[in-house]
Amino acid sequence: MQLTRKQTDSCIECGECTGSCPISRELSGFSPRQIIKRAMIEPDGSLLHGREIWACLSCAHCSERCPADIDFPEFIRSHREEARKAGNSPHESHHGILQAIASLQTRNIKQQRTGWAEKVGAFHDTGEYFYFVGCLPYFDVTFRYLNLFPLETAQSVLILLNKMGVEPVISNHERCCGHDALWSGNEAVFRKLASWNVEVIKSSGAKTVLFSCPEGYFTFKNYYRKYFGDLPFEVVHMTEFLARELPGAELTFEPSSDAAITYHDPCRLGRCSGIYEPPRQLFQFLPETQFVEMERSRENALCCGTSAWMECSSCSKAMQMERLQEAAQTGARTLITACPKCQIHLTCAQSGTDMDLKVRDIYTYLLKRLSGDETHSK
């Protein structure tokens, strides 16, 4: 907290943050610059009691561009716990079930987290690589109504890994990474989930943990270190791993009749972790594929409009529609993303329209294009 206060003191009031903020474009009156200024004048004042503290998406557009290096998302995050204590809670989407699922995982519960994997590939209880599946098994049962099957992502990752000769650890005892709890002011829940995960991974003996989810990767890489010190394993994102290992693996991809494809940078992978190149390198393995960039990409990529399953609003919908239209304008018919939540949010926004755009996750798409693969599903 002291660090963030020190940081906010260096604000030069240029307004770059507010000018960059996608929320302030839709929600007039929301201004990161003014929030910081007000917090300096009265630290326990209106920020803790207003709706603004929950409106921030923590998409990091502002902090990416701030000339004084103020980490506005972190500033907001560090005040959310206090806001909750003051009785100011966020509006939880989907009747709060995703928050309930995360809280339930802090207990000594029995999960069925590996059923999906038994059907498609080989994995073990101990080994060098640990595949951190994250919330995909829970998303899979929650978002069927959108005709989405998030476990396809996990299955595709496992099949790709197996084909590259890696049989990872997948654990029934894994927990949610705690990202959403952390960003919605529930540090106690985050701590419990995180300590479970560190123990589970340690007991597997893994040296490398692979993440298909950007949020899990980002949370482990930054916040697990902050809370638990140096981790006894390396944290690697699947796009990094694939970009590094695919050239050496004997896997080939097939041409397809798909028109051009485009890529949506998830906030946690792009701006928050600086991983822009690896996913793009993966597209180069696909023969006869035209990859086109959207008008706003990489560090300028628009956020998918909602974070931590809260405060979904007309503002979120407006941003999602804007992003979908931007993708359509490139001429691409397939929008690829590396984040299950971006896929869910953009698919949800698209469901009410007649837009001809497929929103796909990167691993499922790669597997679909893999030569000689009949295992992929649905």
Binding site: H94, H95, I97, A100, I101, S103, L104
Partner: protein, 67 residues
Amino acid sequence: MSSLEQLRIVAFVCNWCAYAGADMAGVSRMQYPTNVRLIRLMCTGRVHHGFLLRAFLKGADGVLVSG
């Protein structure tokens, strides 16, 4: 907590059938376990899966939806 009587069960019941059934049981002086807590709804169509998870989160050992 091994005994069934000690478990806390939350039951979401429909006003028009399950709740009426429970009421009928009471009127007929039939006994049913006291560890079941009824929550009456005008229709069990009102039940969202968030309700079930919330019940577990608040410490229920089991949830019954009847209607």
